[in-house]
Structures are given as structure tokens and as C-alpha cells.
Symmetry: C2
């Protein structure tokens, strides 16, 4: 097992040093459209995201960050490439973290970025990936875990030379095995918190599986402090995928444990639809609660005896039950809202009235 | 990296010793209903399963095995508990492998089973899991990876004492981390091929993620020779899940690489439905071929230039293309069949006429 990593603060979220594994995602809006970006950040927050990243490709985006940051419910990371002035402008605009690849900022300018970040208490993620490996390493070692690890260590050293240590690191390849080897090597060579991810993971299904495989290999060994599941999909899906993977590893945060029966010949209602909407709308609830969605009244209440609350669906209606006891009968189209109101009462948490998605 | 394991033969399928990772599943039919069981075995074979297991809880099931085995397209493993006579009857009925937990067969009877299996050239899987751990180990070590590993080694020794070495081993817990630690320990202590699985993994989504995480952690280290994804679902789904996980780990066998665009506002056809049916019906094809299913004619043929064959769907029709060139236009309801016939021509493999599912 790996020892504790150094801890950094990304806004109010602690990363590393034994803090719970946090979930990150990245907006795919045009950052300059502050309204659209904020709307997406709110959807990500509702889904359970902890930290959001936005691209800052130009000065207009850095200016938009100034508008986005104070209204964002999540800490905001500015993603910067090549131009140190965008990093300085982002720090000035209130970014909670900067993600750079120091190598492509340039050794001469990196001191300015490190100084600005130190002054503002803003950590830096050193983000290395297969696609942006330095030429000398690529030529001598190829796009290998060894090369990426060396690149990361070299980039870390560029910051350390300016006495900057408020760092986290990512080192992503597009294949699971290489990613696992690279992070393992890195974990042996530095104590900074690690941001896990598989780059260009693919669509929702394959990308989730690649991430599950890589995160499983690493987190089981105590490697990894924060995660992003990269998907060619709505960023909200990245958050759901990350939450599910952490849950599969028994590292999920508390919250709703939503269980459902496999549908069968007795199912007379759109159970998969009900399950899906409950899953989305309950995603942000933090109180631990077991909610059962059963397809029929035959086995429903009995099988769900361990649930705190649930529904056993019949033809066009549902029996609502608590702790295995039926407490009421409601029309099919009211099942979702009535369950959500019960859950609100039991948890004391407010649940959004309409679908976020 | 782990060294090569010993190789065993499960019917015609080689397991261990560097053979490709094989995929297993288990019928959920009543074994005594030979017809239903054979139908399910055929569906599993069509989906890409390599080895199938059936429960043999009584003598009638062992008798049914006699009928099932000669007509099964897959090697058949008999799953036996407690009664050594069921193991002997299953070997006599032609089982290609026996899965037992020698501890619950009894030290006095295990010689009879080992002798019968040796005589028939039938390997034995020592299947240890958290639920059936011997009491002394449970009491001294708890249901821990250490206890399971000791149980497996003890059970292996019971067979080795009778000079039986035609063994593979599984050691399953219901949580990912424990399963990973248990298999790692076992891999350090024996050279028999290992059958990977997470027991009681759950429904399709969570069970697949747990298996992906565990298999990722193990297979990246060269641990594991054959896999089963246990799901509370149709066994055919276990096979799809296993294939996808192996693909995510770049360990997939050759066969169809089915790619599809994310649907968008331009999509005018049930692309997800078309994708799903193609996925099912192409699952057993072995020739490597890239098949693209695109939602519109705007980007379809262009984006799919790397595909061997595909379709770009318009309103109620589809443009069939090969290597990026449009070769014909067909009505929407003929897209699937025409694509399948093209793929048959290109691969020389026969594709089932109707859906298996």
C-alpha cells in the first residue's frame, strides 16, 4: 500500500493526504459563453461532481472565468496550454487550480506562473499525456509509461526549482495497461497527489470499462487521489460513471443506494425508465438511504425488506413501502414524485423538482 | 509479470500456459431440462462464450448431462457440491471439467473423484469462495483474502496428494479489493491456471464494473487465464460483458469492431436499436472487421473512412459504404440484413438469420 500523499486544496475540496477520492469532470461548452458554462457546471454539481475544469484557450475565456468563478457551485480548474499569460490571467480571474504542462509553457516563463499561483494559494496540476510528450523523450523511449513518468518528473522539477510544491499530477495514456504502469512508476517516485484518468477512453460504455479497469488496478493499491472518467459523451455521464466505479470499489461516498429487480414477465410498467429518472434525480443526495424499485407486487415488498423506502409496481399503479411495509398505493405517473418526496422527508435534503438532464 | 501457468484442456479449449483468456458463463436453466439447457448453451456459443458450466445438483441432472454433452457446441463443466457420486456420474456422462470444492466433498471421497477425472482426462476446478470457507479458517482468519488463499491451497493439496495436477483454481470474494488481493496471493503460491471472477457481483451495470476493476487489476499483472463475469442477468449478458472488458484491456479476441457515432439532432432512425441488433448478431464472428453505423449521411461516410463496411442512415433509408465509398442505398428496414450479408461475404462466416435473444 502506498503511503499518504501530500494534500492540496482545490478551492474547498481537499485532494490527497487521505481525503476521499474526489470526482472531476470538464465542461464541453465554449468557456466564453459564461451562461452555458455555468449551466453545465450546475448540472455537474447536481450529478455529484466535486471539481470542474474549463478550457482557457484565449483571453476572452480567461475573462469569462472571472464571471463564472464567483457563481460556480464547484471549484474551477483552468486548463491552459502554451501561453503563460493565460495562466496568469486565470489566476487573476480566481481559478481554484491551474492545469498546465510546464514543458509547453517554457522554462523561462514557468517561474512567473509558479509565483502567481503561490501568491494566490492556487495549486497546479502537471498534466502529462501520451499526445503531448516532449520530443526527446518520445524519440529515446517512445510513448511508453517510462517516458511519461520521466516527463512528469521533469515537469514537477521545473516547479520545484521555483520552490513550488502545491502540485498534483496526472499521466495518461489511452490504454489501460500503460496507464496503470505509468501511475505505478510515478507513485514510487513522488508523493504528490495523483489525478487518475485514461485519455481518449472512448464512448460511454468502453470508456467506463477502461476507466474501471485502470482505477481498479490503481486504487486497490492505494494509488490515486482524484479521478476523471474521460468519455466522448455529456460530461454529466462522466460523473455518473466515476461514482459507479468508486461504488464498485467500495469507495463510493454515502448517498442513495438504488436497487431494482431485474424485470421479468410480470413487469407491467416502464421500470427501467423509472429507475433511470430516480437515478438521475437522486444522484446528489448525500444521506445514506437504500431505495428499492421493484417491478411487481408479488415479490416486491418482501424482497425489498432491507430497503428504507421503495415501490412495488403493479398495472398502472405502485405500492409505496417503507422498511418492507406497504404504506400507500399511488397512480403510476405519480410514483416518481411521491417517492422523491418521501426521500426528501427521510433525508432532510431537497431534491430538484425537474429533471436536470 | 507472472510466469506462465500450467496448461489444462477443457474439452477443446486450452486454459493457461499462455493460451488466450477464455470466457466462461453458467446456464441458469434447470439442467434436467436438457432442451432448454442446450438452447441456452447455443445462445451462449453464438455470443462468443468459450466454456459453459451447468449445475449438477442431483442424479437426474447428471443423467441430463449425458444428453446435453454430445450436442453441446461448447465444452461443458459440471458444477458439483457435497456429493462425490455426482462428480463420478458427471465424469461418466462426459463432462469436460468438474468444478468442486474438495473440502466439501470430503477427504475420504476425493481420491475417488481424482481417480475418475485422471482416468477420463478431465480437469478439476477448485472453486473457493467467501460463502463456503471452511469453519476453522473462517474462525481463525475471518472471510479474508488470506483465509481464502489458504483454503484454496489446502484444497489443491488434497488433489495433489492423489497425484492429481490437472487443476485450475478460483478464489472469489464479493468485493473487488479482497478478490484482487486473494488472487495475487494465490498467484504467488501456485502455478495452476486461475479462473477469475467476483462473486455476487450484482446486476449488469455494477457487476460489470466490479469485474472490470478486478480483472483490470489482475490481468494487467499477468494474473488470470479464464474469466467469468457473474451477473444477476441473462448469462448471455455475462459473455458480452466479459468480451467488452477484455477488449477494454486490449485483450479482446479478433472479430467485429463495431463503431457508431453518438446520435445527434440529425439522427432520423433508431440507430441505437440497429447498433444493438448488429452487436448481438455479429458477436460470434471471428474475422477482424471494422463495421461503422453512422446516424446521418452528412458525416457518416467520411468519418467512417477507416471502416471496412458500414451504413450512413438517412430518413427511412441508409447508404451502405465500403472503405469510405458509398456502394448502394437501401430502405431503412433492410439495413441490418443487407449489412449482415455484406459482412458474410467479406468474412466468409455464416451469420445467424434471426436474433438469438
Amino acid at each position: 500500500m502506498r503511503g499518504k500523499t501530500r494534500q492540496i486544496n482545490v478551492g474547498t475540496v481537499k485532494v490527497g493526504g487521505g481525503a476521499p477520492v474526489s470526482i472531476q469532470s470538464m465542461c464541453n461548452t465554449d468557456t466564453r459563453d459564461a451562461r452555458a458554462t455555468l449551466r453545465q457546471i450546475e448540472a455537474l454539481a447536481a450529478a455529484g461532481c466535486d471539481i470542474v475544469r474549463i478550457a482557457v484557450p484565449d483571453m476572452a475565456a480567461a475573462e469569462a472565468l472571472r464571471e463564472i468563478k464567483p457563481r460556480s457551485p464547484l471549484p474551477v480548474v483552468a486548463d491552459i496550454h502554451f501561453d503563460y499569460r493565460l495562466a496568469l490571467a486565470s489566476v487573476d480571474a480566481g481559478a481554484d487550480k491551474i492545469r498546465i504542462n510546464p514543458g509547453n509553457i517554457g522554462a523561462d516563463k514557468i517561474k512567473l506562473v509558479a509565483d502567481a499561483c503561490r501568491g494566490a494559494g492556487v495549486p497546479i496540476r502537471v498534466g502529462v499525456n501520451g499526445g503531448s510528450l516532449e520530443r526527446d523523450l518520445r524519440e529515446s523511449l517512445g510513448v511508453t509509461p517510462q517516458a511519461l513518468c520521466q516527463s512528469a518528473l521533469r515537469n514537477i522539477r521545473m516547479l520545484e526549482e521555483h520552490d513550488f510544491h502545491d502540485i498534483c499530477v496526472s499521466i495518461k495514456l489511452s490504454n489501460v495497461n500503460g496507464t496503470v504502469q505509468a501511475y505505478r512508476m510515478l507513485a514510487e517516485n513522488c508523493l504528490y497527489p495523483l489525478h487518475l484518468g485514461v485519455t481518449e477512453a472512448g464512448g460511454e460504455e468502453m470508456g467506463t470499462l477502461k476507466s474501471a479497469a485502470a482505477f481498479g488496478a490503481l486504487l486497490c493499491d492505494g494509488i490515486g487521489d482524484t479521478v476523471r472518467v474521460s468519455l466522448t459523451a455529456d460530461p454529466v455521464r462522466e460523473v455518473y460513471a466515476a461514482k459507479k466505479i468508486l461504488k464498485a470499489l467500495d469507495m463510493g461516498r454515502t448517498g442513495i443506494d438504488l436497487v431494482a429487480c431485474p424485470t421479468c414477465g410480470r413487469t407491467q410498467i416502464d421500470l427501467i425508465g423509472i429507475y433511470g429518472e430516480l437515478e438521475r434525480r437522486l444522484a446528489a443526495v448525500k444521506t445514506p438511504l437504500r431505495v428499492a424499485v421493484m417491478g411487481c407486487a408479488v415479490n416486491g415488498p418482501g424482497e425489498a425488506r432491507e430497503a428504507d423506502v421503495g415501490v412495488a409496481c403493479g398495472v398502472g399503479e405502485g405500492l409505496i413501502f417503507k422498511k418492507g411495509e406497504i404504506v400507500g398505493k399511488v397512480p403510476g405517473d405519480e410514483i416518481i414524485e411521491i417517492l422523491l418526496r418521501e426521500i426528501e422527508k427521510m433525508t432532510g435534503e431537497e431534491i430538484c423538482r425537474k429533471e436536470q438532464n
